[in-house]
Each structure stands twice: as structure tokens, then as C-alpha cells.
């Protein structure tokens, strides 16, 4: 007799129907992938049981790629083709990167983002990152035995628009459906907050391999609200290694080093730093390619003194975030430590002294971000029933604005504004008969445009000639839930319009992303086609399910005629899904989207009315 199957209480009776969603911590030094399994967030290990994937990619002359430990093993022999800490180059130009001279790569100063010349050709940091993401995606697919429906990828909270866009592009090239870019300290706060049922104001101090973030959050009854965030996207554990490396070079009186010796000593410097977490002194020995032997010893005291300025440098953003939040240190209930670099005792000490309390270290600082990302991915995938999920309110880290006369910045959306955010401002012409206007979008806090990051330039043309100051040009900024900006401009008397998704000047153009997508499939047309078809089918299926659920819940909001036209659009799409023409499916998806536009808006209005009605009844 067949046994009856009984599901665990609160679990879906058909667990295979839950959507497979993953959280990825794409770190400077190490990357991880996690998922929620039977309600518990877990990090997914590789075939050898290792959770961390070193964020190292090696390109070989035949075009093949090694990622993680195999690449790490070769980094000193083949430094030029073995890319470490690629996250530091995401969305960055050559002039933005510190210590470029001690990085053993062949940089190509491309417009916008720098590139790297390797044995397998010139690579963008986006492509390098996508290799890391691909390995994690494959690991997850193997472990979860299925297609991944969506991924949350974490980014430093202090990442600007160009760095965020680059990360999202890397996810796409790796074949991931990026559900959301999530700020690393926020991910950590989710994991910490839920694990410890924390309520109140918390600070998350996140010192990773290459970036530093500080976020202040209010945690209350299922709401995670970021009040302020600050940081330094060019400060992390790598800089501590660099200090040790320079100390070694000076102590051992070394002549300028060859690339492989440089990498060898950087590895030794990192090992010494890690050793000093639990020991008082680290011996550093290395044999250089010249045969010269390096043999020095670094004690804790020296290590603290050569890195003291770095530790102090993290406290500036901490003060700023507190000021922006309007809080004093006494109002912060706890400080959650995140990132491998917070293991250093001098960092723990400095943070403890600043906040006048012991930092919270009860979660693994390497894993907490990936676990939080997995939990958020699970919510975004719709696997949590309403009531058991939570609301996340995050902010943009840097002000967004445009250039006005005299090279000055006019802020349109200030830093620490809750996202999604939108704001419009009117500008006018400077000269009589002016018919064009150049709009320069910038990000940063400084008054001079030259001190801010240039995000994009575009032109609004065809303004009818008018007297200076008569035209009304409305520039609208929209920041989405990923923290990504789009800008549109419109002249209101004539209706001339121009809009862009901000990416060109420091990101990749759409054409570049397309090319990389093609490259990643070895130019195989069938693969591209199969992939487009698979994506369209998933999209279509998802839309059909969502529409049916919406109809079941809120049919009353539609007239019979309206309902019939939606049902017809659903049927039209459903008929095409088994077919092999992805363009036809795409068209039907678009048609269904159009057909549900008004319905979606009405459902949203009804949701708000219900929310307010519920509150009024509740407060009686």
C-alpha cells in the first residue's frame, strides 16, 4: 500500500512548486551563493564542500577560463592573466583606481570603464565578474536540481550608479534573472535581525575586501528601514594587505619588483594579516624570482601602527551616517560586524570604542550577506506567504543631480532618500533662440561638477526658439528599487522629449552587453535562440500565473468586457507558449501586459484603500 504523504505544517504541500531563488554575495575577495531550503537559509558549497569561491578569474591563451581555487593557485605564476579583486574595477575608469601601479595587469584605458588585456583577449570587469557569477549559478543549479528562477546580487551600499549597473549587467551576462540588487549591509541586517528578533536602531559596519559601508537601520515589526548610509567604495581589507606589502618592501629593502614577485608578496602580506588576528607575530618568508630571499617578521604593534590611518578612515563615514540619521552613538542599540576584514582586532577595538559597546559578532562575517540575500530572494520570488514576509526600505547613498551654469551641481535627489524615488525640476534656456540643451547627470555631494562622478550626458534638441528664460524644461529623475537611475527631459511648451537610462559614460552600452552575451555562448546561434526561447517562456508562464491570481483576487474591479479582453490575451499567450518562435511569444507577453495595465493600476489603488481602511478599523 502506498504511504500517504503529509507536508510539514506551514510548508507548501508541493515543495517542488516553490520557485528556486538564490542570493549571491559577489565579494572583492570571496563570493558565495545561498538559498532558502525548507525555510532555512543555507550557503551552497562546491563539490568539495567549500562554501567560499575566491573571486579570482584566470584567462588562458586558448580562451578557457579558470575561476576560484584553481585560479588562485596560479596567481603568482601568471599574474597578468589572473584577475583578483575585480570588483574594484567595476564601473571605474583608469584614473579612479588607487594603487594601479602595483596591480600587475595590462590595463586598457577604454572610454568609461577600464578594461584588462589578457591572454584570452581584452576583458571588461563586467565579463570577469560574470565568470564568477556563472560558476555560482552552475553550483546552485547542480545543488538545487533545477533552473534558477531568480537571483538577488548584493552590492556595497556605497556603490554609485555606474558600479550598480555594471553588477547588474554581469548578472545578466551570467544568465541570471536579477530580481534585485541588494545593499550588503542591508542583507546582513535582514539575516541578523530575523535570527535575533532584533528591534530598534542598529548600525551595520561592513568592511569587506575592497569596500567599506556603514548603514544605520531601524528594525521594527517586520520592517527594515535604512535611515542613512555612508562609506568608501575604495577602502577595504585589500588596503591593509597593501600597507603590509609596502612595509615588507621597505623592511627588506627590495628593488622595484616584477609582476609575479609583487603578487607573491601581496599573497604573503594577506596571509600575515590573517595570521595576526589570532597571533602576536607573523613570519613572512618568500623566495623572489631573482633568487633573493625575503625573511621578515611583523608584530601586532607594528601592524596596528601601519594600518591605524585606515581604521580611522572608516570612522569619518560612521560619523556622517549618524549625523544624517540625526542620531547619537547612545541611541544605537547594537553594531553588527560584517566582512572578513572586521576580524582584525584593531578594527573591533576601534568600533567598540567609538560606539561605547562591544560589537556584535555572533554571525559569520563571511556568510551573513549571502544568507540575507537568499532570504530576500525567497521573498521576492513569492515563496513566503503574506504576513510572514517583511518590508525593506532602502536609500540611495549619494545625491543625484545635474550640471547647471558655471559647472555647479544642482541636486535633484539628495542622498539617503528612500527608494524608489522620483523627482523633477524645471530648468530654462540661457540664450535667446537656444534650441538645444545638454544635460549632464552627476552623482556626488560636492558643489562643483568636476568633483562629482559624471554618470551620463544627453541632449534635448528641437526646443522652439524663444527668448532666454522662456522655455520650460522639466528634467525628471527616477530611481528604481535597485538604486538605478533613469532620466528624462521634456520641454513643456512644445512637448519635445528625450530620455535615457543612465549608463553610457561609466557603464557599458547595450551593444556591449549584447556582444558579451553572445561571446558567453561561444557565438552559437542555437544556444542564443534556445536561451531567448526559454527566457520568453518563463516570462510568459510567470505572467499568466500572475494574471490569473490577480483575476481570482480582484475580478470585481473589472467590467465584464474588460475581463474578457484580459482572458483573451491570456489565452492568446498560452497558445503560443509551446511554440518555438520567441519573438511571437514576446509580442503576446507585451500584448498581455498592455491589456492588464489599467487593471494593475486599479488593483494598486484598491490595495491602498484596503491598507488605510484596515488601519482605521484597527485604531478604533
Amino acid at each position: 500500500m502506498a504511504l500517504l504523504q503529509i507536508a510539514e505544517p506551514g510548508m507548501s504541500p508541493e515543495p517542488h512548486q516553490a520557485r528556486l531563488a538564490i542570493g549571491i554575495d559577489l565579494g572583492t575577495t570571496n563570493s558565495l551563493v545561498a538559498t532558502v531550503r525548507s525555510g532555512v537559509p543555507v550557503v551552497l558549497p562546491d563539490a568539495n564542500g567549500r562554501a567560499l569561491l575566491p573571486s579570482i578569474v584566470r584567462y588562458r591563451p586558448d580562451g578557457s577560463v579558470e575561476v576560484g581555487y584553481p585560479a588562485q593557485a596560479r596567481q603568482s605564476d601568471d599574474p597578468k592573466n589572473t584577475i583578483v579583486s575585480v570588483k574594484r574595477f567595476m564601473g571605474r575608469g583608469v584614473k579612479d583606481v588607487a594603487h594601479l601601479e602595483s596591480a600587475p595587469y595590462d590595463f586598457v584605458d577604454a572610454p568609461g570603464m577600464l578594461q584588462l588585456r589578457t591572454a584570452a583577449g581584452v576583458k571588461s570587469p563586467v565579463e570577469v565578474s560574470s565568470e564568477i557569477l556563472k560558476v555560482l549559478r552552475e553550483r546552485a543549479e547542480l545543488s538545487l536540481q533545477g533552473n534558477i528562477s531568480g537571483a538577488v546580487i548584493t552590492v556595497p551600499a556605497y556603490f554609485d550608479d555606474a558600479q550598480r549597473q555594471a553588477t547588474k549587467d554581469a548578472g545578466r551576462i551570467a544568465g541570471l534573472n536579477v530580481l534585485r540588487l541588494l545593499n550588503e549591509p542591508t542583507a546582513a541586517a535582514i539575516a541578523y535581525g530575523l535570527e535575533n528578533a532584533a528591534e530598534g536602531t542598529y548600525a551595520v559596519y561592513d568592511l569587506g575586501g575592497g569596500t567599506f559601508d556603514i548603514s544605520i537601520l531601524k528594525l521594527s515589526k517586520g520592517v527594515f528601514e535604512v535611515v542613512a548610509t555612508s562609506g568608501d567604495s575604495m577602502l577595504g581589507g585589500d588596503d591593509f594587505d597593501q600597507r603590509v606589502f609596502c612595509w615588507i618592501a621597505e623592511k627588506a629593502k627590495l628593488a622595484p619588483l616584477a609582476a609575479r614577485d609583487m603578487r607573491l608578496l601581496q599573497v604573503k602580506a594577506r596571509e600575515a594579516k590573517e595570521y595576526l588576528t589570532l597571533h602576536g607575530e607573523a613570519a613572512i618568508t618568500a623566495k623572489l624570482s631573482s633568487g633573493e630571499l625575503v625573511d621578515v617578521s611583523l608584530d601586532t604593534e607594528t601592524f596596528c601602527s601601519i594600518t591605524q590611518t585606515l581604521v580611522q578612515k572608516t570612522l569619518g563615514p560612521v560619523r556622517k551616517a549618524l549625523r544624517d540619521a540625526g542620531l547619537t552613538v547612545d541611541e544605537v542599540k547594537g553594531v553588527v560586524m560584517v566582512g572578513g576584514a572586521t576580524r582584525m582586532p584593531q578594527v573591533q577595538r576601534a568600533v567598540g570604542e567609538f560606539f561605547r559597546r562591544d560589537p556584535l559578532n555572533n554571525l559569520d562575517p563571511d556568510r551573513v550577506v549571502a544568507l540575507g540575500a537568499a532570504m530576500q530572494a525567497n521573498v521576492l520570488a513569492g515563496n513566503k506567504p503574506q504576513g510572514e514576509d517583511w518590508l525593506l526600505l532602502d536609500v540611495i547613498p549619494l545625491s543625484l543631480g545635474i550640471e547647471t551654469m558655471g559647472g555647479l551641481t544642482e541636486k535633484i535627489i539628495p542622498r539617503n532618500t528612500t527608494i524608489p524615488a522620483g523627482r523633477a525640476q524645471e530648468f530654462t534656456t540661457f540664450k535667446d533662440g537656444q534650441t538645444g540643451m545638454s544635460i549632464h547627470v552627476v552623482q556626488g555631494e560636492r558643489e562643483l561638477v568636476s568633483d562629482c562622478r559624471s554618470l551620463a550626458r544627453f541632449e534635448l534638441k528641437g526646443i522652439p526658439p524663444m527668448a532666454a528664460g522662456a522655455a520650460r524644461i522639466r528634467v525628471a529623475f527616477q530611481v528604481d528599487a535597485d538604486g538605478l537611475l533613469s532620466v528624462s527631459a521634456k520641454e513643456s511648451t512644445s512637448g519635445v522629449e528625450a530620455s535615457i537610462i543612465v549608463k553610457p559614460s561609466y557603464g557599458l552600452a547595450d551593444a556591449d552587453v549584447e556582444r558579451m552575451l553572445r561571446d558567453s555562448f561561444d557565438h552559437a546561434r542555437e544556444d542564443m535562440h534556445a536561451r531567448a526561447l526559454a527566457e520568453q517562456r518563463v516570462d510568459g508562464q510567470r505572467l499568466i500565473e500572475a494574471t490569473r491570481a490577480a483575476l481570482a483576487a480582484d475580478e470585481a474591479l473589472l467590467s465584464l468586457e474588460e475581463k474578457n479582453s484580459i482572458v483573451a490575451a491570456v489565452a492568446g499567450l498560452e497558445k503560443l507558449l509551446p511554440g518555438t518562435d520567441h519573438r511571437k511569444i514576446k509580442k503576446a507577453v507585451e500584448a498581455l501586459n498592455r491589456a492588464t495595465d489599467e487593471f494593475a493600476a486599479r488593483r494598486m489603488d484598491a490595495g491602498i484603500k484596503r491598507a488605510l481602511a484596515g488601519r482605521k478599523i484597527g485604531s478604533l
Partner: protein
Amino acid sequence: MQNHFDLFGLPPSFSIDGETLERSYRDIQSKVHPDRFAHAGDAERRASLQWTTRVNEAYRTLKDPVQRARHLLELHGVDVAFETNTAMPPEFLVQQMELRETLEDAKDAAALDALRSNLRKQKRQLVESIAEAIDGKKDYSGAAGLVRKLQFLDRLDEEIDAAYEAIE
């Protein structure tokens, strides 16, 4: 023009119940936030983005006294005219110049702390006067002058932030 008070089910007054505002904000966000629609179709995602953006902007406006007063006065047809009307009573300007001189002379955190607490006190008094003018006397054009003063003090507050950064 959109009425932000209506959105949160609040009466249109300058004095507001912060807790009710926060609760309605969160209730609405939990219904419209993009995280609720990550797997939905384009139409719903677009509607969600638009709504969340509007709700965030409305919340930000109502939380800040200057923006809240400005919005309320606009609902009553009075333009606060921050950009065009910079005329201030002479005694207010003298007081402001003194505060600014104190700011320039402040060389350490203690001096800035003292200045800030003095400024915050003045701001609190102004907020009370604005509440009295709008909610009590319904003197909207009188209130507009007070709101301009408050914005002046807000700017000084920002400059104090910059001064803290400069000494750190």
C-alpha cells in the same frame, strides 16, 4: 495638485501625529512596494514603481516641517516662494549673521554642539509659531514668512554638518 494628507488618511493640518503617519506609510508600502511585485508582469511592476515613488515623496514631504508647511500652504493657494521672496525682517537677519559668525569661529566639536543646540531651540520655537499661524489663526500669508525663516535655519543646520565634516 495631489494632496499628500489624503494619501495617508490624515487631516490637512500642520500639527500631525507622527506615529499615525508612519503607520499608514508602512501599511501602504507593504501593499505597493516593488518587492511585492518582483515576479509580476510589467504592468503591475510599473504601477508599483509609480505608487511607491509617490508614497515615498509624500512621506518625505510630510515628515519635514518646512516641506509639510509649504505643501499645506499651496493647498490653501499660498506660494511660499522660497526662490523669489528672500526679504526678511532686519532683526531676523542680524540674528542670522550672528549665528553665522559663531559658526565661522567654531573650531571644535564642542562649539558646534553648542551652536547646534541653540539653533535647534530656535527651530522648535518657529515650528510652534507656524502651527499656531496655520492651524490656529489660519493666517496663511503670515505663516509663509515663518516658513521662509525656518528654511533659512535649515540651511544653517546643513552648514553646521559641513563644518563637522571639515574638523573631522
